[in-house]
Amino acid sequence: MLELINLSYQTEDGKVILKDVNLQIDDRFVAITGPNGSGKSTLAKLIAGIYMPTSGKILLDGEDITEKSITERAKCGVSFAFQQPVRFKGITVKDLISLAAGTKISVSEACKYLSEVGLCAKDYINREADESLSGGELKRIEIAMINARGTKLSVFDEPEAGIDLWSFQNLIQVFRGMHERTHGTILIISHQERILDIADKIVVIAGGTVAAYGEKSEILPELLNAQAGCRFTKEVRV
């Protein structure tokens, strides 16, 4: 279980991005949504240890990981998929999946992780994760790396960003599959209704704090009620 207790973050120049975020996340698939600039990506980076909170605590299965580095958190069981996947010259797709798995993996194991994200392994396994791969291909490889890690918490920062419509259809299938197979918690930041629709629970972040958190059946209809405007984000903005 991931617990965020009074978690706050402000930038060096004093701008408050997140204020007193309190959440307990224990379901298989939880989506975080909210307006642009509401602090969602910052929240994901605080969980991964890329940013350190100004105050508050982060607990993973009861263990306080607030002060732990990125590496230590990764070892504790936190995985993080970037919104913009990183490219590497000379490092192959197989190398990356091996590094993620923490051991030299066989070709057939690499194939398993790549086929789960809809990539034909033989076309990709020895390719360099560099400029020659498209954004959509890299996104899938990023997801394959998270699957290879198999940690108790996997955080995805807007996996749909920069993906074309055709790839997006496939991405939905990939996440549906992950929802079925996961033994941990998938925490996914998204604006997409179809991704939110896979979630068990939805968190709405607005104005740097939790505007709503509950079952999908309760939250999603309200978010989609565009004409009236979303009750959750309105309340916070007032």
Binding site: A48, I50, S69, I70, T71, A74, K75, V78, S79, F80, F82, P85, V86, F88, K89, G90, I91, T92, D95, L99, A100, G102, M145, R149
Partner: protein, 306 residues
């Protein structure tokens, strides 16, 4: 007998554990230690100066030749001339390399001048590794010069690596290409401490439809200095591409001077040069996989120089 130091050098520069099979020439401490001809490859020691002439018969396919040089005696300086005469329609691999073990205070230096005469439609892969080590204060210096003449339709691929232990190097490569010839150069350099490396390419694309790719990847650490110069001249309808990509670390200095010159309206020439530190997001990505910052840095550099 080859001693244990020399064996280690041999394995570093040529991936060999013993004197090689097939055609080879092994030079140790300034003398020709041994050589072997094959049916198609003959090696002849030069009489007027140090070095060898290598003759590869036309039509020789799938053969390889090893010509490692080892220096384990401190303070030894040598200049060697090796000429490769590669017949028409050959398809061969040449593995060269120089290993220096300097355990004294004298400066050890190996400078090789390699001339390639690549016959019509021949294909040559040339692999060269430079490696230095030692526990003394003496410097390891290597100044290789390569001159390549590519006949019509020929192909030369040069893969050169200098990763460790060479204090100073000035590497010059000159090439002229006739019609339909192709030259591919892949260079990898890492410098550390107070090392200095300069690499200087000049390629003349003389023939119609000839082409070259010159690709240099380097890592400069500590207080080391590197200079990359490359001049590609398009004198006919041709394609030329030169690329220098460097990672800079610590207090190192890197200079890149790519130069392209078109003397024909259908010469298509491109140069690219990039110098930068390791991207923070690359380190963070690998750290989110559980690597420490040092481990992440090593993976990025190893991949970059692979």
């Amino acid at each position: 007998m080859i001693d244990s130091v020399q064996k280690r050098l041999l394995s570093e520069v040529a991936d060999l554990h013993e004197v090689p099979q097939g055609a080879y020439s092994l030079r140790i401490n300034g003398n020709l230690y041994g050589k072997n001809d094959s049916e198609n490859i003959s090696i002849v020691a030069k009489e007027d100066k140090p070095g060898i002439d290598i003759y590869i018969k036309p039509g020789t396919k799938k053969e390889s030749l090893h010509i490692p040089v080892l220096l384990s005696q401190t303070g030894l300086k040598e200049l060697v001339y090796n000429d490769f005469h590669i017949g028409e329609d050959c398809d061969v691999t040449i593995v060269a390399g120089c290993g220096i073990h300097n355990s004294g205070d004298g400066e050890s230096e190996h400078s090789g001048i390699h001339s390639f005469f690549v016959g019509k439609n021949a294909r040559v892969k040339y692999v060269e590794k430079h490696y230095g080590e030692g526990d003394g204060n003496g410097k390891n210096v290597m100044n290789p010069t390569t001159v390549a003449h590519l006949e019509e339709g020929s192909y030369l691929e040069m893969e050169t690596t200098q990763i460790k232990g060479v204090d100073s190097t000035r590497r010059a490569t000159r090439a002229t290409l006739k019609s339909g010839a192709t030259l591919i150069v892949k260079e990898k350099i890492m410098t550390h401490g107070n090392q200095f490396a300069e690499t200087d390419f000049a390629v003349d694309l003389d023939g119609e439809d000839c082409g070259t790719h010159v690709i240099s990847r380097s890592v400069a650490r500590d207080q080391s200095r590197q200079t990359f110069l490359s001049r590609v001249k398009g004198n006919n309808r041709c394609n030329g591409h030169t690329e220098c990509d460097a990672i800079i670390m610590d207090d190192a200095q890197v200079t890149a001077l790519p130069q392209i010159e078109a003397n024909h309206v259908e010469a298509a020439l491109i140069h690219e040069a990039a110098i930068g530190k390791i991207a923070g997001e690359q380190l963070i990505k690998l750290m989110t996989l559980g690597l420490t910052e040092k481990e992440a840095e090593a993976e990025i550099i190893n991949g970059f120089l692979r």
